[in-house]
Amino acid sequence: MTNEVSSVAQARPRPIDVQAAVEKLNALTGAHVASYLDACVHCGQCAQACHFHEVTRDPRHVPAMKLAPITKVYRRHKAPFAGLRRTLGLAPELSRQDLEDWEELIFDSCTMCGRCTVVCPMGIDIASVVAVSRQAFVAAGLGPADLLQAADNARDRGSPLGVTKAVLADRIEWLADEFEIPIALDRPQADVLLLISSIELMKYPHSVSAMAKLLNHAGVDWTLSTTGYESTNFGVLAGKADVAKILISRITEAAESLGAKTVIVPECGHAFGVLRWSGANILGRPLPYEVRHITEFLARCKRDGRLRFKSVDTSVTYHDPCQISRRGGATQDARYLLDGVASDFREMTPTGNYNWCCGGGGGVQAIGRAADLRHDVFRIKMRQVEETGANTMVSACSNCRLTMDESKAALGWDKELASLVEILAEHLEEDAPQAPDPAR
């Protein structure tokens, strides 16, 4: 009986509000997006940069295809000469079928990594158009259920993985006991607010203790906060602008109540990109604190002489999280931190700002039905690492790490994956003399 009900439910057409999508796309098409839609010449070079096209060779996976739904609405409603086009019948309205056909392209097969922007002769940033399009698809009632649920969890329970304030307090207490590391929670007047990602807390808790160890050793006056602790912003990834604003507000409220001057985003690429570069725009006012990715902050501590490290005795390569390097501008900090730690450091080709994505960015990691596609994309990374001959691939993003760990298991790959902060904490020279914190 249950199965029958389920199959009937699946067969029933989904309610899709096409008009809501049209209105959202119209509202979000400013000069920025319009300049992109008016510049694409359909040359298809973006296919050469997209990991999804690289592994599937499916022409539908050319990034420029993702512009089609919004272009259709733009040409009918908002573009110059839209009225003329409508009069001549040259600008059909967006259809229910369009939305259904494009849902997979807008959500499952775009990690918003921005590689296609580099290769585009027009410089079109397709990732930002995909972000806008996701909002419209969600307004229409579309979008992967698991990705949307992650955003709702973040809004209702504090984190996409259900890390409530109580769970946070329990896990932090356990971590502090287990690793014998002081971890401050809700310490008033702290200079620095450290955020965590629930991926770290639930799947890679050693990452959190590693950050605590490094910050403590560097003499940083820091704390976690139960008011605002989750760094990930599934509101942005799932196209839910209201949730995105709530999540930024929580962090800001926490920082303001503490009087924190700096907010550190942990090893999470999109969390950094959203808070550092979109946070103020989402909130509608400048952020009253500086935002630093953990690699940026630790690099500053190392430059100041507050952190010194021992050498790692294995060959290491570094995977650049797209939102930290290419789209975040903090490409060199991880390398500076690894300098002297990884005595046998080997760069991938391409690397840095031109890296290949792990396959799970842009919320794709949370989309269960995209798993096989993600694993296929990971083969690019496997090939890159094998070409370097390095034994260990280090990254500074727990979302990349989770994506790559899952793909590694699915494909039976034997290389080591590691977190940058964990490696740094393991190889910290704890007896080395420390310089004072210049900020205090």
Binding site: G30, A31, A34, D38, V62, M65, P80, P121, I124, T331
Partner: protein
């Protein structure tokens, strides 16, 4: 009034007006769509990023030359050839001097015209062959892509036929094809000749402030 007088007189002014007003209208429409101020604290200058992106995206970068060499070579052949013909072909220089402004440069010699024309035709044909044969571009292409290509091709072809100025009819044909191209231009993807600056500058400003211009 002969047909030549008509295409070089009233029709020329109609086509020029549609072209100019259309281009201005379209660019104004894009720019006036509005853009919210970016409230994030910039790491580097957005203006420098915008300028850098406008230049940077004229060349393959980021290790992509090998993957995009076909478009790079054919694109440059076509565009360089076309602009050389447009601005330096002897009949064009004479026409512009007569109908618009006195150009401060001489016309190019015949041998240069031949080279420029060959480059432009080779580039355009290579790009169109790619559009028709590559599964990616075949899927992306719509009627506008084909119409724009054919109008450009016809303008170039009739221009070469009219070069000797041996037959008035060929000159009329060239003027008609150019005027059709000019009238079609503002409504089409040919506008990328102007919009490329806006798109590149937008990306350059957005990401330049972050510290890396992609």
């Amino acid at each position: 009034m002969t047909l030549l007088d008509f295409v070089e007189g009233p029709l020329w002014y109609v086509a020029s007006s549609v072209f100019l007003l259309g281009v201005v209208w379209r660019l104004a429409g894009i720019l006036l769509a509005g853009r919210a101020r970016d409230l994030s604290i910039s790491r580097q200058s957005p203006i420098a990023g915008a300028l850098k992106a406008v230049v940077l995206h004229s060349l393959p970068h980021g290790g992509n030359l090998k993957r995009t060499v076909y478009h790079f070579v054919s694109g440059y052949l076509f565009h360089l050839g076309l602009f050389a013909l447009l601005l330096f072909a002897a009949p064009h220089v004479a026409f512009i001097n007569k109908h618009m402004i006195a150009l401060p440069w001489p016309a190019m010699p015949r041998w240069a015209f031949i080279i420029a024309a060959e480059a432009a035709f080779a580039g355009l044909i290579l790009l169109y062959v790619r559009r028709l044969t590559d599964p990616v571009t075949r899927q992306l292409s719509d009627a506008d892509d084909h119409i724009g290509t054919w109008l450009t091709f016809l303008a170039m072809l009739t221009g070469c036929l009219a070069l000797q100025e041996a037959h008035t009819g060929l000159r009329v044909l060239h003027m008609l094809s150019v005027e059709a191209l000019m009238i079609y231009f503002p409504f089409s993807r040919l506008m990328h000749a102007f919009t490329f600056v806006l798109a590149r500058a937008n990306t350059g400003a957005t990401f330049g402030r972050r510290g890396f211009t992609p």
